[in-house]
Structure formats: structure tokens, C-alpha cells
Amino acid sequence: MNTLSADSQFHRQLILVNGLLPAALLVFDGWRGSLGANPVEFVTRTTGVVALFFLLLALAVTPLRQLYGWTWLLKQRRLLGLYAFFYALAHLWTYILGDRGGQLSTIAADIARRPFITLGMLSFACMVPLALTSSQAMIKQLGPKRWRQLHRLTYVVAIGGVIHYAMIVKSDLTYPALFAMVLTLLLGYRLRQVWQRG
């Protein structure tokens, strides 16, 4: 008889379902026409925020494991990261197809001239190698040490993502500030460890 904290199948199902839920709700609301007056804006904002949410959850795994002994979380970390990638991809596609209407020339101009778009694109680009190497086989192929080093890029992605969010709001920084606070705590925890070790 295993305990609940050892029931990794349950954890996986829990994260799978809760991770899909925002996407399902978006699709459902889209189907019944209740995404509000500006659906493109709402979907863009929601997918972006959910992506940041999963990024921070993935980054919280190690501190939670070490502080509270929740070792079971480690097995779910790659799934959390993949969800962050999934929502970031949805965010990007909403921007390309919805916001820019698929006009590639205006997208290129945006990347070149709008720093917050540039930053968003760069952060997304950093996620691609992480998503591609998220399989068990890739961990083996790279070796766990190199894999972990590569996946520290997650911090870069999260920093870029939070700044990207802060740069688009007009004046109300409440949400970006909340994300920034959590990210600072997570990053601070890891940096303190590095200093204490070295």
C-alpha cells in the first residue's frame, strides 16, 4: 500500500488534467462565443499568463523538494515545463494568426522594432531546445549533468517572460510584479545555494 505522496500516477493525472483545463475552457468559451469583446486579446493574455504560471511551477519544484521534502514533485517537473511550452506556443500562434492576421511582414517589423516582442520571441526560442530535450531518452543521450545545465535556461526564459509581460502593460503592474516577486524568490533561493557551495 503506497502513500498518496508516492502515487506518481495520481500526480501525473492531476497535472495533466489541470494543465489542459485552461485550454479546454478557452476552447469551450470560444465555442459558445463568450471570450468577450476582443477574443484575440483575451486568448493572447490568458495563454501568456498560463505559460508563465507553469514556468514558475517548474522552477518551484527544486525549492519545494528541498524545503519540504516533496521529492515526488521531481517526477512531474518535465510535464510542468512542457505545459509552459505548450501555452507559450499557443500564445505565439495567437499573436501571429490573430493579432497580426498572419501578415509576416508586420511580424518581422514588430520583432525588429518592438523590444517587448523581441524579448518574447527570444524567450520562446530558448524554450524550444528545452522542449525538444524533455524526453527520458534525451536525458540519457545528453547525460544528466549536461541536461541539467542546459535546462537552467528555464530561468532565462522566465526572466525574459516576466519582463516581456511588464513591458506591455500600460500602467497597472500588479500581475507582472507578482510574477516578478515569485521569480525573485525562486532565483534567490538557488543563487544562495550556489554561493554557499562555492
Binding site: 500500500m1 498518496l4 495520481f10 492531476l14 488534467v17 489541470n18 483545463l21 485552461p22 475552457l25 468559451d29 471570450l35 468577450g36 469583446a37 476582443n38 484575440v40 486579446e41 483575451f42 493574455r45 490568458t46 499568463v49 490573430g98 493579432d99 497580426r100 492576421g101 501578415q103 508586420t106 517589423a109 514588430d110 522594432r113 518592438r114 523590444p115 517587448f116 513591458m167 506591455i168 502593460v169 500600460k170 500602467s171 497597472d172 503592474l173 500588479t174
Partner: protein, 321 residues
């Protein structure tokens, strides 16, 4: 044999009860986590409660005025006009404004007209609604890149100013919104200072298209749209069209305006709709008409160039953005 390993010992939970408890624990975690996720989603998407509950306003026909009724445009749905609002005193989330703004008290109301005028005015809500009202169908372009077509009801600002009689020294008009922190507790998170301030040059204020709106779709304004009376300047970005006005002051200098004070690099005093001058963070060349999927090219002066371009002859619109 009497010990802790005794399966018959009463302290040991029978396997059946244990599994049962496990089942309920899991069910509880399932319910709790999915509710929390769905709830979090909902906080980003507050349901706007929008019904047109305003009182009817009678309008009179006016002599033909170019630009008064946008040609070939279909007005947006009432629920979009009244469900998607920028009113930072209540929320910075456009779909949350409608429900939050229900706390705004619009009776009694006083609109003061003063400063450099011969006859300062103090108008009650009855006085304001007593002005002969006309219907105007204007394009409305937000600085954020979306637009609507709105059937306003109201009276020209020029009419109000003609009663107050600006003095010869008057060159500008300053506007101030109602502000009460008790009624607007979320204004603390807006990131801009209140009361909200706006301003126009006197000739802009006297332009026949510049409207003091008291209603839309034939009925008094919903709170979220700036009840009971707001400014509408159709050739400028929406934030110039200040809501819930309590004070109009004629001045001899360019007045302070909220967004210009908050970020002068991004929001100029004039803020005329101009597809060739981009916002520092995004393009203004295109706009998303609410209710449409494709982008539309933004028109110079929001399509009112024939009516207002003469106000700006000889001005560098890139510098005076």
C-alpha cells in the same frame, strides 16, 4: 498474541476504510485543484453584466454635418460597447470595468464650468440632460489598437461653452473626472494618478464634432461608459475622451493631462489618431475593429481628416503627437 501487528487490533484501520478514505481524499484533491484552476481562469475573465438599463433620451434631428454620422459603418453591439471599457478608476481589466463601475453614484451630479469665462456655470444632472440632444455615430479608436463604432447621444461642447462665454484670454480647456476612492477602491492599483485629467485646445473644443455625450443607443450612459456625462473627440485616441466629467476649466495655457503626465514619451497632449506615428511600443498603422477578425488600416484623424485637418495646418504632427 497481542501487539501492534495484530490485524484485529482496533488501532489499525481496516483496509476497506483505508481505501475508502483514500478515495475521498483523492476526490477532494481532484475537486479542489480543478476548481482552483477554473477559478483562476475566471479571475482573468470576469463575466461582464451588461444590460441596457438606461432611461430613454429624446433626440432631435440636426442639419447635415459632415462626420456626424459615420458613413457605411455599422455600430458595435451594445454588450461590446458596455462590456469592454477602459476606466482605470475601476479596473485595468477592460471586461471587469462594467461590474465594478456599478458602485459609481451619479445622482446628485454637478458639472462646473469655470476658469476664464464670463459666466461660470454649475449644472445639475437635470440641467445636463436638459440640453437638446442629437445622435452621433462616431468611430472610436483606442490607443491600444482596437476600435468600435458607437451611436452616441449628446450635445456639442461648443453649445455648453457658448453659455459660459470664454474670455479673450482663454486658449485651452481642461477637464476633470469625478474621483472618490470610496467608490473606486481598485483605483489604487491603476498605476496612474487620479482624478483623471484631460485637455483640448479651445478651437478643438469648439469644433462641431466635439461632443458631450450623455447616452448611447438612445439611452442614458451606462456607468462604465462614463455616466452621466463624458467628452467624445472622435479624431483623437479614446483616452482623450474623458469620462464622468465634473469640471471644465478654461485656461490660458496647455493643461496637464493624465496620460501625458504618466508617460510623456508615449502619450502626447494632442494624441490625434495617426497611422504614421507609432506608439513607441506598438504600431498604430492597423486596428482591430471589435467584432471583426481581420485588421483594418487606421485612418488619418480616424477618418475625420476632412473635418479637422485644418486645425493642425503647419504643425509637425510627429513632434506634436
Amino acid at each position: 498474541m497481542d501487539g501492534p501487528s495484530d490485524p484485529l487490533s482496533p488501532e489499525i484501520t481496516p483496509e476497506e476504510t483505508f481505501l475508502n478514505r483514500r478515495f475521498f481524499l483523492k476526490a477532494g484533491i481532484w475537486a479542489g485543484s480543478t476548481l482552483a484552476t477554473a477559478g483562476l481562469y475566471q479571475t482573468f475573465k470576469p463575466a461582464p453584466a451588461v444590460k441596457n438599463t438606461g432611461r430613454e433620451i429624446g433626440t432631435v434631428a440636426e442639419p447635415p454635418l459632415p462626420g456626424a454620422i459615420a458613413v457605411g459603418e455599422t455600430p458595435n453591439r451594445f454588450e461590446d460597447i458596455a462590456g469592454y471599457n477602459n476606466f482605470y478608476e475601476f479596473s485595468t481589466n477592460k471586461s471587469a470595468v462594467a461590474s465594478r463601475a456599478q458602485s459609481l453614484q451619479t445622482t446628485p451630479w454637478t458639472l462646473q464650468v469655470g476658469g476664464l469665462v464670463e459666466h461660470p456655470l454649475s449644472l445639475s444632472l437635470e440641467d445636463i440632460l436638459g440640453f437638446e440632444a442629437v445622435q452621433r455615430i462616431y468611430r472610436f479608436r483606442c490607443v491600444e489598437g482596437w476600435s468600435m463604432v458607437i451611436p452616441w447621444v449628446g450635445f456639442p461642447l461648443a453649445k455648453l461653452l457658448s453659455l459660459a462665454v470664454p474670455t479673450d484670454q482663454a486658449t485651452h480647456v481642461a477637464f476633470e473626472s469625478y474621483y472618490d476612492r470610496q467608490q473606486m477602491p481598485h483605483s489604487l492599483f491603476a498605476g496612474i494618478a487620479f482624478p483623471y485629467l484631460e485637455g483640448l485646445r479651445l478651437d478643438e473644443a469648439l469644433h462641431p464634432l466635439t461632443l458631450m455625450a450623455t447616452g448611447l443607443y438612445g439611452k442614458t450612459l451606462p456607468n462604465q461608459n462614463g455616466a452621466p456625462v463624458r467628452l467624445v473627440v472622435p479624431w483623437k485616441y479614446g483616452f482623450k475622451s474623458i469620462k464622468s466629467v465634473v469640471k471644465i476649466t478654461l485656461t490660458d495655457h496647455q493643461p496637464t493631462t493624465t496620460w501625458n503626465r504618466a508617460n510623456a514619451r508615449e502619450y502626447g497632449f494632442y494624441s490625434n489618431v495617426n497611422p504614421t506615428v507609432n506608439h513607441p511600443r506598438w504600431s498604430q498603422a492597423y486596428e482591430r475593429r471589435i467584432g471583426e477578425t481581420d485588421l483594418r488600416p487606421t485612418l488619418m484623424f480616424n477618418g475625420y481628416a476632412d473635418q479637422v485637418a485644418h486645425l493642425y495646418t503647419g504643425m509637425n504632427l510627429r513632434q506634436n503627437f
